[in-house]
Structure formats: structure tokens, C-alpha cells
């Protein structure tokens, strides 16, 4: 028997696999396909203080090995989530409530509402698809630290995971900034800003013109960034970016991640997460690894 459990900020996840924010709603739809209580946790759709309608369509595009999305944080608002979905989701698995805002006050207010009633708060300071979607806070290290501090002051009893943008000068620098601001953990990478052009119409495919690039094609960049960030901080790291199978997840663990998030692959295969969990167990079994947590940060550099 392989022990798949991992600990993040003192809380135990039954395994390190978490569907990534924005690809899984609040879990209800996927729960009709499989029992989502098999998951280590669920990162919710990004929550804002007030409901948001999001961007015009098309909101999704594809390129070789990747997809682009520009949903624009459509969500029913944090209150609605607390009243309608949180109880149910928490009865299933650990909840990573993904939080987005456009001002420091927004972040503070949402964190205050979620403090103590969710398992983790994942602070989205890196949404590339909304002008005021937090991206402004995610680029410069000073503002990463500032928004982290404002959030942490309002969620003293819930671990705060700051989700970092890869569209920055130094990922290590921003990881350290989050740690200085009081983050209990970091997660990365959010999507890379990209564009796809419909050459017949000479217009971008996405109505938003640009969107966030995700999927298998970004994985090597994400692994490198997770490695750099994990070395820069002493708080736990959740790694993501193009994970499509158990072997991909193992790479992220070896690079220094304590857990992983799976996004785009949920679209390619609705059973992606349970398959990765099963695959992790098999991989560990084949390699004589008795605890998946023994893999964390074990990559040996040349």
C-alpha cells in the first residue's frame, strides 16, 4: 500500500491531486461523472465580492498542445458560493476557495468572509483576462507582498496560498515576496498570456483578443518555475501547468511541489484526476516509493 497523503500547512490531503480553479466549477458537474471525494481537494472557480458576468464569447481557443481561455472571472459571487455550494463541497473534500479582486479592499473583504469556513484560500493575483482581475497585483514583488499582507490580516485562521503569475520578471523574487507578506503557501503557475489569430478573418479567435495559455505545451516552463520558486521559499508549493498524467505529477513533486493542480486535462478527459491519483499509486508501487511525500523536492540537478 502506497501512502498518497500529503500535508499542506498542517492540513492533510488524502492525495496530492486537486482540480485547478476555473476548470471544475464548484465540483457539482464532475461529481455526476465520478465521486469527487476521491480528490485531495478542489480549487473553486475564482470568487469575487459581487457576481460577475465575464467576457464576451468566444472565450476559448486552441493551439498546438495548448488551449487559451478568457472567461473573465464569471462567477455568482462569494456569498452565493458560501450559501449554495460550500457546505456540499466541504462534505466531499478539502476546499481551496480561489479568490479574485480588483482592489486591496476587495481581497481583504472576501478573505474575511471565507476565514475559518474553508480549508484553504487560494489568492488569485494573476488572472490575465480581466483588466482589474488582480493581475496588477501579481506582477511586481512589492504589490505581491502588499496584497498578500492585506489578505492574510483578514484570514488569520485559514491557510493562505498565493497563486503566482508566470508573466513576471522573476518567479523566485515574487515567491519570496508572497512569503514575506505572510503567505502560508504558494501555487503556480497560472496561465501565460497569449494570442491566437484566425488568419482568414485576420482577427484574434478570442473576443478578449488575448487569453491565458494552459495545457501540456506549457509544462516544461511550469516545472522550471516551480523548481525555482520552491527553492526560493520555505513554505509549501502547489505545482501546476500542463499536468496530463501521473508521470507529469511526479515531475512537479520532484521539482518541489507538495501537491499538484490539474486544469486543462479535465477538458480532454473528464476522469483525468482520478486516473492521475491511481497512476501515482501505481508509479510509486513500481518504484518502491512507500509515501508519495517522499518524492517532494528530490530532483538532483546536474
Amino acid at each position: 500500500m502506497v501512502d498518497l497523503s500529503v500535508k499542506i500547512c498542517g492540513k492533510e490531503l488524502k492525495n496530492p491531486v486537486i482540480p485547478a480553479s476555473g476548470t471544475f466549477g464548484f465540483g457539482r458537474e464532475f461529481d455526476e461523472i465520478y465521486d469527487i471525494s476521491v480528490l485531495g481537494g478542489v480549487a473553486t472557480k475564482g470568487l469575487t465580492l459581487l457576481p460577475r458576468l465575464g467576457n464576451p464569447v468566444p472565450r476559448i481557443a486552441e493551439s498546438s498542445g495548448v488551449i487559451l481561455n478568457a472567461v473573465g472571472l464569471q462567477n455568482p459571487g462569494v456569498e452565493h458560493f458560501i450559501e449554495e455550494d460550500l457546505g456540499w463541497l466541504r462534505s466531499k473534500t478539502k476546499v481551496f476557495a480561489n479568490v479574485a479582486g480588483s482592489t486591496l479592499a476587495d481581497y481583504a473583504e472576501i478573505c474575511k468572509k471565507l476565514n475559518d469556513i474553508v480549508d484553504f484560500i487560494e489568492l488569485n493575483i494573476s488572472c490575465p483576462n480581466v483588466r482589474q482581475g488582480g493581475m496588477a497585483f501579481g506582477v511586481r514583488p512589492e504589490s505581491v507582498e502588499e496584497v498578500t499582507r492585506a489578505a492574510k490580516e483578514n484570514c488569520p485562521s485559514t491557510p493562505l496560498i498565493v497563486k503566482l503569475s508566470p508573466n513576471v520578471e522573476s518567479i523566485a523574487e515574487n515567491a519570496r515576496a508572497a512569503e514575506r507578506g505572510g503567505a502560508d503557501g504558494i501555487s503556480l503557475v497560472n496561465t501565460f498570456t497569449g494570442m491566437v489569430i484566425d488568419i482568414e478573418r485576420r482577427r484574434p479567435v478570442l473576443a478578449n483578443n488575448t487569453g491565458g495559455v494552459s495545457g501540456a505545451g506549457i509544462k516544461p516552463i511550469a516545472v522550471r518555475m516551480v523548481y525555482e520558486a520552491a527553492r526560493a521559499v520555505s513554505i509549501p508549493v502547489i505545482g501546476m501547468g500542463g499536468i496530463a498524467c501521473a508521470e507529469d505529477a511526479v515531475e512537479f513533486l520532484m521539482a518541489g511541489a507538495t501537491a499538484v493542480e490539474v486544469g486543462t486535462q479535465n477538458f480532454t478527459d473528464a476522469l483525468a484526476c482520478p486516473k492521475i491519483i491511481q497512476g501515482l499509486e501505481e508509479w510509486c508501487g513500481r518504484h518502491g516509493v512507500s509515501r508519495v511525500s517522499d518524492l517532494i523536492g528530490t530532483v538532483k540537478m546536474h
Binding site: G54, V57, P58, V66
Partner: protein
């Protein structure tokens, strides 16, 4: 709603750039008329939504038009090839007990979900279909459509009525007096239908198309605008909507 590995039984060209794909599922899948499936094409991260034309026991047939690289790749699939499939999805068309006479208005690739309606109700209801195509070479699945009364319209008049399906339908609507109208096709066609039937008080339902992500309602990629200003998910709240509830 199930995630399965399907086996291609047949994938054949049925008109210019149009194919019909039949695959076997693992065990029976119950599909209502107007529901769809997401099919994965090797090498493409996004699955594509396809309306189900025919569902018999463990055999599902979809029709599709080659639109881009994904459908081009799919058109080369042969019997025995595997593809990932998520199904059945969406709400589908609902026809009530008291609606005896159904008018169907379809255009282009929009005929495919309507074929499942014709097949489902051909025995129990009176069906009058108006199906529009660019020209005679684009006409397909005529046999299936002929299970009810059929009027074919072509833009160039090379077969049947010269003009659009909506125009052909509007010539008959007064005498026909359908209990319900079901439609699917390009947005300009749906818009023309909405305008044409306005004020006639005939329940009219349309199946919409949008680029999709998950196909199950989780990712909020495929939204449409509702008349009340809210947004609905085409994959989950639709693809079939009351024509008066959506902005076209």
C-alpha cells in the same frame, strides 16, 4: 453522463465536407433527441461537441462538417479507431404530449440534432421539416429527414425550394399551424426565424452552438446571453432554449 472510450464503426463522407461518424459505446447510452457528445481527437487538447443524430442501443451516430484541423483529423478516422467520448450532454429538445404537430427548421450542420427529433417522433407525431442547404451537393441524410414531411430548400435552387429554410417554412406556416417549432442552424438563420415567428404565439425552441471547454457546465466558456441580461451555459442549460429567452 459518462466518460468512455468509443470505437469507430464507420466514418463516411455524406456530402461535400460533411461526414457521418458512427461509434460503439461500452454498453447502452440513453440519449434524448437534441443531446450532444464531446469527442476527443488525438493530439488536440479540446474535445469538440457533436449533436447526436441517431442513438440505437450502444451505437451512436453524429454528423459533422469539416471546419478546422480537429474535424479534418477526425475525418481520417477509420473503423476500429478509438476516441474518447463524454455523453450524453445537454438538455435536448422536449416535445409535450399535447404538441402533436411539429415544425422543424434546420440549416447546414444544424440539421443533425433535428434528425434525432425526427427519428424520435416520426411514429407518434406529425412532422414537417424545412431543411436548408447551400446547394444540391450539400444535401445529406435525406432518408432520415423523409421519415416525416420534408421540404428541402437550397440557396441556388438546385434542389427543392429556391431560398432559405425559413422562407420556405413561412410560406406554409399559415396553413400548417404547427403546435411547436424546433430549429437549429447558423445564427443568422435563427435570427430570421425569431423575427418571422414573432407574435404568432407558437412555442419555438432553438439549439445553439458555441465553442466549449468542459462540456458539462463547469468551466463557463460556452455562455450565451439571455433576454433578462443573465448568462446561460450552452452545454448545460442548453443547447436547447426557448427562442424568446436568448439573444441571437
Amino acid at each position: 453522463m459518462r466518460e468512455i472510450v468509443a470505437t469507430v464503426l464507420e466514418n463516411k463522407r455524406i456530402a461535400e465536407n460533411v461526414y457521418s461518424l458512427t461509434f460503439a459505446t461500452e454498453g447502452e447510452v440513453k440519449v434524448r433527441p437534441g443531446q450532444f457528445c464531446m469527442l476527443g481527437v488525438r493530439g488536440f487538447p479540446l474535445r469538440r461537441p457533436f449533436a447526436v443524430c441517431k442513438a440505437e442501443n450502444d451505437r451512436i451516430t453524429v454528423g459533422y462538417q469539416i471546419k478546422g484541423r480537429g474535424t479534418k483529423t477526425l475525418s481520417a478516422y477509420q473503423a476500429g479507431d478509438k476516441l474518447s467520448a463524454l455523453l450524453p450532454l445537454g438538455n435536448g429538445f422536449y416535445v409535450s404530449e399535447k404538441e402533436k404537430k411539429i415544425a422543424i427548421v434546420g440549416g447546414g450542420a444544424g440539421i443533425f440534432p433535428l434528425i434525432s427529433v425526427i427519428r424520435a417522433y416520426a411514429e407518434s407525431k406529425e412532422i414537417h421539416s424545412y431543411m436548408g442547404f447551400r446547394n444540391k451537393a450539400a444535401v445529406c441524410m435525406q432518408y432520415e429527414m423523409q421519415r416525416g414531411e420534408l421540404t428541402i430548400a437550397t440557396d441556388d435552387g438546385s434542389l427543392g425550394y429556391r431560398g432559405t429554410a425559413v422562407q420556405a417554412f413561412m410560406e406554409d406556416i399559415g396553413a400548417l399551424r404547427p403546435d411547436v417549432i424546433l430549429s437549429c442552424g447558423p445564427t443568422p438563420m435563427l435570427r430570421a426565424l425569431k423575427k418571422a415567428v414573432e407574435g404568432r404565439n407558437i412555442p419555438t425552441y432553438v439549439s445553439l452552438e458555441e465553442r466549449m471547454g468542459c462540456g458539462v457546465g463547469a468551466c463557463l466558456v460556452c455562455v450565451c446571453e439571455k433576454s433578462d441580461g443573465s448568462r446561460a451555459r450552452v452545454c448545460r442549460d442548453g443547447p436547447v432554449f426557448d427562442i424568446n429567452d436568448v439573444e441571437l
